[in-house]
Symmetry: C2
Subunit: 455 residues, 2 copies
């Protein structure tokens, strides 16, 4: 029993504050712009859809933002999450590298998403909101908000992309178990939905349409607000508990990472593990390389343009400066639904521009291969999204082996794959293909980027 596997922390070591990277950046991130005026937006522009406390966090430049006590109380249900030394994987790879992962799949909804859904539900409840509306694709975010809503007595209405609503009935069942209402989008309940259904009664929906429906519901009712699961600053902020805890646990393990890895779709779990380490790098206290992993099918950071763009296909959101494939770019179907977003979080894009992180892209079959290797050595079946971080960690460990270096690798395993077993079935049946990236489609989508005067 000499070698430890899990590094656990007591509940008293759940962080007392979220970390806001904006406070420490050498250069502030470009502001979001109003789509009509092209001028920076103010808090009032967001008031119809977000509670005041969330808006204040979105624009805050404070370094530390206190985590309210009731949020920390709920975090106790699964936090601090474990840091695990992947000894079985190390042995299978025969690598001199030490591999650690921070496992966020222990949350009730099975991913890192409740770190922010609980916070958002709390602030909404505090401000008298009765109901939250949101969209979901694969269902990770919808089920996380449903969970948070159940604890605070908030009604939750989830607009789920119709094709996923049909394909993923068990994610929907999970939302309903938590008491949420799950609606196939486009729906007849909103003007946005009805407009689509009139033109295309058989529309299979899209995240863009579902966002429009949820925002419309939130904007149209005083008792209802909107909640978003990634991309925006306040969401990334709430996820920093991941990195703050990991840092304490790595210290308990007596190691300091040489490489920190996270998968990145909207950017929230990546920011969660990475931003605290970026702070340490900026302060000269860490030398870690920080790697953000995306799919080759939706390569915002490695193939996209850093430009102002809309967050949704319907062009209802503010313009934000980010690495984008263009709001009209439609990524091919693949199994990591949580990584199928045309843009990257503005704050993640900003640190990429500043040279503080390394982007990397992988095709999905290579990621499933890594996921299966993790399952057979560590027991955990990763979510397809998280498998991108696993792939990068394995490749770094193999590089260490080739170079004879015993580096320390830390990655975020953002969620489990219990609701994604169809993807594994397809993988074993040889049905998953790596679709070559459609450069021409990207070029077309980039031509449609809005023209913005940045001066």
């Amino acid at each position: 029993m000499s070698e430890r596997v899990k590094y656990l922390l007591g509940e008293d070591r759940i962080p007392k504050a979220w970390y806001n990277l904006v406070a420490d950046l050498p250069k502030p991130p470009p502001p979001p712009l109003h789509p009509a005026t092209g001028k920076p937006i103010g808090p009032d522009d967001l008031a119809p859809i977000f509670p005041q406390a969330v808006i204040a966090q979105e624009v805050s430049t404070e370094r530390w933002i206190e985590i309210p006590e009731p949020v920390r109380e709920i975090y106790k249900l699964w936090r601090p999450s474990p840091l695990i030394r992947a000894r079985g994987l190390e042995k299978a790879l025969d690598t001199p590298a030490k591999i650690f992962f921070k496992y966020e799949g222990v949350s009730p909804a099975g991913s890192h998403k409740p770190n922010t859904s609980v916070a958002q539900a709390f602030y909404n409840k505090e401000e008298g909101v009765k109901r939250l509306a949101t969209e979901t694709g694969a269902g990770q975010w919808g089920s996380s908000l449903a969970f948070a809503g159940s604890l605070f007595g908030l009604e939750v209405e989830v607009y789920m992309v119709k094709v996923s609503y049909g394909q993923k009935p068990y994610r929907r069942a999970l939302m309903e178990t938590y008491g949420a209402r799950c609606i196939a989008s486009p729906s007849p309940l909103t003007a946005a939905g009805r407009a689509i259904l009139e033109k295309s009664p058989d529309s299979s929906g899209s995240l863009g349409i579902a966002i429009s429906e949820a925002v419309e519901v939130a904007a149209g009712r005083d008792d209802t607000k909107y909640a978003l699961g990634s991309v925006l600053n306040h969401v990334l902020l709430h996820q920093t508990v991941i990195g703050e805890e990991a840092m304490l646990q790595m210290a308990d393990a007596g190691v300091d990472p040489d490489v920190v890895i996270g998968c990145a779709g909207g950017g929230s779990n990546f920011a969660g593990i990475a931003f605290p380490y970026i702070r340490e790098k900026l302060a000269g206290r860490s030398h870690a390389r920080i790697v953000a992993v995306e799919p080759t099918s939706c390569p915002t950071m490695t193939q996209g343009r850093y430009a102002y763009d809309y967050g949704d296909t319907g062009h209802l959101t503010p313009l934000v400066k980010m690495h984008t494939l263009g709001a009209s770019f439609v990524p091919p179907g693949f199994h990591a639904g949580g990584l199928r977003y045309h843009g990257m979080a503005p704050l993640v894009s900003h640190v990429l521009e500043l040279g503080l992180i390394e982007p990397r892209a992988y095709a999905q079959t290579a990621c499933f291969e890594a996921a299966v290797q993790l399952a057979r050595t560590e027991g955990i079946v990763p979510a397809p999204e998280s498998s991108h971080a696993v792939r990068a960690a394995i490749d770094e460990a193999l590089r260490c082996k080739a170079e004879g270096k015993s580096e320390t690798i830390l990655f975020c395993l953002s969620g489990h794959g219990h609701f994604d077993m169809q993807a594994y079935t397809d993988y074993f049946a040889g049905k998953l293909k790596d679709v070559p990236f459609d450069r021409a489609a990207l070029d077309r989508a980039l031509l449609e980027l809005p023209v913005v005067d940045e001066n």
Copy 2:
């Protein structure tokens, strides 16, 4: 942060030995009998299908059996499992009772089953076995043995009841992710399977048939053994880590249980939480009532007869004395597949006869109602089997409320329901019915019990 939610233990506090209740019983349990001779069976009778170390544990009267170091090393992947104070549930019930649950769903396969699958895989590997054959119904056991096999480099062949093979493709995908081969039973690979298929090409299979196939494969090949997931003494033994850890954690919490609850199908998770407490009761160190919960659709303890019976429908196994509905009794279809067994573990049956435990039966809709209440207050979606324990814990807490007593309730939450969401979908759709127990069918099945001279 004053009130703790989780009681965790360091890896150094994983038990060093399994506890064998047989050593402390006031009266030894009746021996298993050879089906042909009616005489007590000896170790040699079991040698074709089990490794020697497992057979020795099956008949052992030693109080403590050391857990091999490599097994404890693997236990570290998820053990010690957390003990959780269900403060959210207590609040929702407005009860003065304290409710604690030991959560076994944190294991890689999502239930308590790996506590024994890892041990069984270890002993087989030690004795040079290359391949394990087993049966599975709903898939909990098959995926747990698949996980254990992947860690020890053993091939695993799982005969899965054909109707479940079709209905639960994701449990099958989980087994395949762990590298196991999953075969729909009846299959053309065994004589037992072929015999059924000749008569009934469309047979949907049964646990009895699947057992016959797996035992045939194990008995017929020198490099292959059989592994069982419940019922037998050695399986119950391996599960005692649950209760031993819980006892340490309850001490950390400064409480002693007044009621200890587990669901019981074959009896293994129940024995795991209960047997250490039965030891304490017998020694006068605990006053806890110990409650075993079964489904009203398959009520072995509350409606069955305590008699010698076969473990399988094919009458290939030894005769064991247990509470049984008769090996030919076919329980109606319901969603807690893990509780659909015609008998109860002989050792659990024995302590029931000795008056050391209280049996209780619940209908499934009442259990799903309890499961949903747990999900909405504690975040965890229970397996349908485990929901029986949740129902009993809630009822005990409501009794405490009615009586104004602040008792301490401990239950085992044996697994999560991530692979059982169809059951929740059916529940919300109002499709689950509580079928009245068929007393006449029981009477018919009991008429077929073998005649055994017990003197």
